[in-house]
Symmetry: C2
Subunit: 397 residues, 2 copies
């Protein structure tokens, strides 16, 4: 059994569905319901308040953080789980700005996920000290890193096109210019090998409900490099980031290291689901995953370009420059995606003209790619009425 | 069957346990595991990304908010679920400060929960515009509300003593002085009838894992009065608080009303657990609950003062001035509580000298109160060795 035959068996995928949207919400690991049931009926219901210690809930944010740390190349003890990605963006950008108090530019690109931009703009508005959120096009980003820039806020893999930034090169350029870097790894963690330590990232954030399969609304993570971990201000100074939360002091003193980035009480059910999801990830070799991902994204590009001449590739052909998704442009992207979903091939539409397909080797293989493209090609040719998927669909509805 | 015989049957309480810590973490409703199982195996696993619409996940923060709104006297559509209480404190205080841009004092009292103070101080530090977090003793609070005060940040029921502030009177005084008020209802929601609308509260926040029984790390809620809901800035400007989140615009525009206080992707499993917990609360008459709560807290005070002469009451005797917990002071509070817990009577110790007992009529009655006090009295007299609970404890360990 190959590595990915094993992983495929770990997920529940509804019969007949080709799920190419794991970059939006990953499917459920088969082990998750039992893990949650245990958290409910053996932990919460039996231990009640005692569960925070007896069942290890209080330390879960750090323990789970370490397991994610392996996937993103973090030093041990430098990743912590909690809150949402947007909240963690706010903390990271705020902390990064403190390193450069004289500078006023937060630089990002128009391919960044909007919530990152909203949170940065909200922070700038709150500070009211003349910070500018400067947006350039993704390919102009490197040249836009100047000595004006306080913080570079960048999502490694573009949520629409799948274009991947060069984390190491952009970080080096930023540091040469005296800027701090916050990497958003939402479409990187579990998608491509990341090495935040070797790449010199100052801060990194990400979510766990996409490639990591921890379920809807799963918590986010934040990485703070050893250089900043004991100095940065968390901005959102919650009690669980306090050096002694249960001393109930009136004044705030940050905990040592990344744990200061904790805020309030963490979501134990969602953490239990992340725990179950990471049981799969613990066994995944990220280099093998990347190799497989490139084979599959390459195949998807090849198949679509052969069979779907109306679609224009939006994802870079260069292997190094793409994440683990493939996107195409079409003026009819929205209705095409609705037809695909109706026929059991689930991708995503992103306004105004993007068809986006997440390619997730843990549970997607060549067969699914070929079948998906066949359905897509038939939709485009208006020749799907005799296709088995259409017949099946009409039979059940 | 009385109202509270019915509610008692809705919870799982381990055999032999007297659980007087539901003001820290409520016990599990019996219906919760099935609700979560359904969310996992019928919703997430079958609908995947489609669950956000098909299963109503996206609207849960508002739907659940409305159900909590009934418990706190909010206008319909003015409460939304999400994040943690600390995060919601930050948003509320930040929004309240904007109404009073010329003033520099955030007033609170030393009985407030520390995380509220930390978040407010963190906000003041971030703003760096000379805001002062001014702390007074709880009984000095009303007099300390002057025209200097921008925001009064106050927890209605003190987490240590159970002392209850007069929401209506303090709000009136604050408004007379031109100050905004943020009420923390962590120990109020599900504990006492609250009427934020009639009381004139500007903002209110609270958590759902205490009296509301939604489980460890359950999400928080925030109320914004109709006067502010369409004007306030959320400070944490996440995409799900955007007027059109799925347009993926580069610039932030807040949603109408309280929905702008949403930040990132909400925790669907935890919301499903809250959903199950609120199925009980939907049937609870808060006036009847309050009547029962006062009977039980009154009984607890009477029993302890009769049988435990060494303990000093820390909770007000005046019915109007207490929430739904009873606390006592003792220099030996810590070891006494450890002995109680060991014998299956679970309360809480709060530094330096508080024994705290949450009195929750949904699943606690007179029998439990009397038994708990008997065990407590025996511990204090050093005469528990022949008590059935001690015998049982020694038999099983």
């Amino acid at each position: 059994m190959t590595d990915f035959a094993w992983t495929r068996e770990q997920f529940h995928i509804p019969l007949g569905l080709i799920y190419l949207d794991g970059n939006s919400l990953g499917p459920m690991p088969k082990a998750t319901p039992a893990r949650i049931e245990r958290m409910l009926t053996e932990e919460w219901s039996e231990h009640l308040i005692g569960g925070w210690n007896a069942c290890g809930w209080m330390n879960m944010p750090m323990r789970l953080g370490n397991r994610i740390g392996r996937l993103i190349g973090a030093e041990d003890g430098h990743v912590v789980i909690g809150d949402t990605l947007s909240i963690k963006v706010f903390q990271a950008v705020s902390a990064a700005l403190q390193v450069n108090p004289e500078r006023r530019v937060i630089l990002s690109d128009r391919g960044n996920f909007p919530s990152d931009l909203y949170m940065a703009q909200g922070l700038a508005d709150l500070l009211d000290r003349g910070h500018e959120l400067r947006l350039v096009n993704p390919h102009e980003l490197e040249d836009a890193i100047t000595e004006e820039v306080a913080v570079l806020l960048v999502t490694e893999v573009d949520y629409r096109t799948g274009r991947r930034h060069d984390l190491k090169a952009l970080t080096r350029k930023a540091h040469d210019m005296g800027a701090m870097v916050v990497w958003d790894l939402a479409h990187s963690a579990g998608a491509v090998p990341v090495d935040v330590a070797a790449g010199g990232a100052d801060f990194a954030v990400g979510c766990t409900y996409k490639y990591l399969n921890a379920g809807p609304g799963a918590p986010a993570f934040i990485y703070v490099s050893p250089e900043h971990a004991d100095h940065c201000e968390p901005a959102l100074a919650g009690w669980l980031g306090h050096a002694r939360p249960f001393a109930f002091e009136h004044g705030y003193r940050p905990a040592e290291g990344v744990e200061r980035m904790r805020v309030g009480t963490p979501p134990v059910m969602q953490m239990a689901a992340l725990d179950a999801a990471l049981d799969v990830w613990d066994k995944v070799d990220m280099r093998k995953l990347r190799k497989r991902s490139l084979e599959l994204t390459g195949l998807m590009i090849e198949e679509v370009e052969t069979h779907c001449p109306g679609l224009k590739l939006a994802t870079p052909r260069d292997n190094d420059a793409r994440g683990s998704q493939v996107s195409f442009r079409s003026p009819n992207a929205y209705p095409i995606m609705q037809a695909l979903i109706d026929l059991g091939v689930v991708g995503d539409f992103r306004a105004p003209d993007i068809l986006r397909f997440g390619i997730t080797p843990l549970y997607i293989g060549e067969t699914e790619i070929r079948e998906a493209v066949e359905v897509l090609a038939r939709i485009l040719r208006g020749a799907l009425w005799d296709h088995p998927k259409y017949q099946l669909r009409k039979a059940v509805t």
